[in-house]
Amino acid sequence: MTHVEAAITEAFKQEWGRVVASLIRMTGDWDLAEECTQDAFTTALARWPADGVPDRPGAWLTTTARNRALDKLRRSKNEAAKLKEAAMLAGPAEPADTGDSGVTDDRLRLIFTCCHPALSLEARVALTLRTLAGLTTAEIARAFLVPEPTMAKRLVRAKGKIRDAGIPYRVPPAHLLPDRMSGVLAVLYLLFNEGYAATAGTGLVRGDLCTEAIRLARVLTGLMPAEPEASGLLALMLLTDARRAARLDADGEVVTLDKQDRSRWDKAEIEEGIALLDAAIRHRQTGQYQLQAAIAACHASAADPADTDWAEIALLYGQLRRLVPSAVVELNRAVAVAMADGPAAGLAIVDALDADGQLPDYHLLAATRADFLRRLGRFDEAALSYRKALQQVATEPERRFLTRRLTEVTGQAQAGPEN
């Protein structure tokens, strides 16, 4: 790659979202904004090799895209286009944001508009990737395993709703901000998980989703450094992503946390994640992402699985459960408590969940219960729970694991509980 090509690639990563965001504010037209931003990069590709890379590539690209938009509007015979042109020439009409700083980065307006709750969750995710991250429709379609025309339709529909239903292009006012902030974080978290949950095969494309999610979370925390939950989410992503290389073995099988080769964890990501989390915690506004990041940090800072501070993890899950009442969180707490205080304590929590009729079809509830019973030497009961888990399990690797354990406890049950 030549020096100029590298500069353009870098500018695309750094500036795409910023240029689109500014053009949307200037023109109020999402399609025009994307088109002209694309054109500006094409022009850069033609001009920069001869003219040299400009000192401020972002400003150069924005000006080029703006001129392109004016040009297109001028040549249009359409009345509405003429009005838009006049409005653009009259200068930037600032939306009525109620930010503290007085100056709002257009990318913040774009993030909050893309993640508006009046849009479906899938539309929010697709729009964020297209307009803010600059992924092509084909790339987004591949990442979400849907045909390209389906993704194209989803994007057209979302942009149509923003335009026709009057979804405002602004950072929401203070009284709406906490709610809307958690909506934005939810989109970024979903994006990350989509990438992380994927295993071999489509792995390459989907792993990119993790990278994009981290990049977007960096933009958000850069623009809103005083939002501890945004920093908490970025920390959670980094601490989780640090384990990505160690997560699959040579055959593409999932390796559980306690079996992972910890020397393959990304130390730079772990350090950055822990530093971010420490800074976030100082705001003393706890939240679900900070708590999850703190749990991930407990794992990341244990050099050996045996060094894991399970008592601290159990405590953190307890706090998380109070914020996000969820049976899955409670099940995780049971696992941590069992590690800290022994399987009997964990079993009591799982049995309480079971008695409440929580998670009746969730194979991990039965599998966890089976594991506790196995460790307590109650092999007959363990076998019953493994059989129940096997009826509910969906993926092959997990089925193989549970079958192996069932054979084990059946053998031990026949040999007698004393063995």
């Binding site: 508006h116 009046a118 026709d164 239903a165 009057g166 979804i167 405002p168 929401p172 709406l176």
Partner: protein
Amino acid sequence: MQYMLLMVAEPDDALNEAEPVKVVGQQAPSADDADEPCWMPWAREVTARGVVIKDGARLRPATTATTVSGRDGEALLTDGPFAETKEQIVGYNVIECADLDEAVDTACRHPVVAQLGGRVEIRPILPD
């Protein structure tokens, strides 16, 4: 922007027995009448917030509805609403406000949502 708020709820006495009072334009009804319909405080509140109520009405129950449907160039008449559900369209308002956020806020304050557990569908009105 103009929006139509379609109120959907299970028919309720509070709605059916309220006196039909029409609020149009920006003059907020001022009389603090004990017998005033449940949506009157809403009309005052949102008008004070700068929302213009252009039109609105309650509808008689769906038992009085007649549906006309076009099929093969002919109009077919049926007794009842177009969809037989427990919930009915109980009324509507046409409002003018800044954007969807303001329309959502206006709908959230309406008694159909705030008190009766019903729903409001917000539809932008096509400009002329």
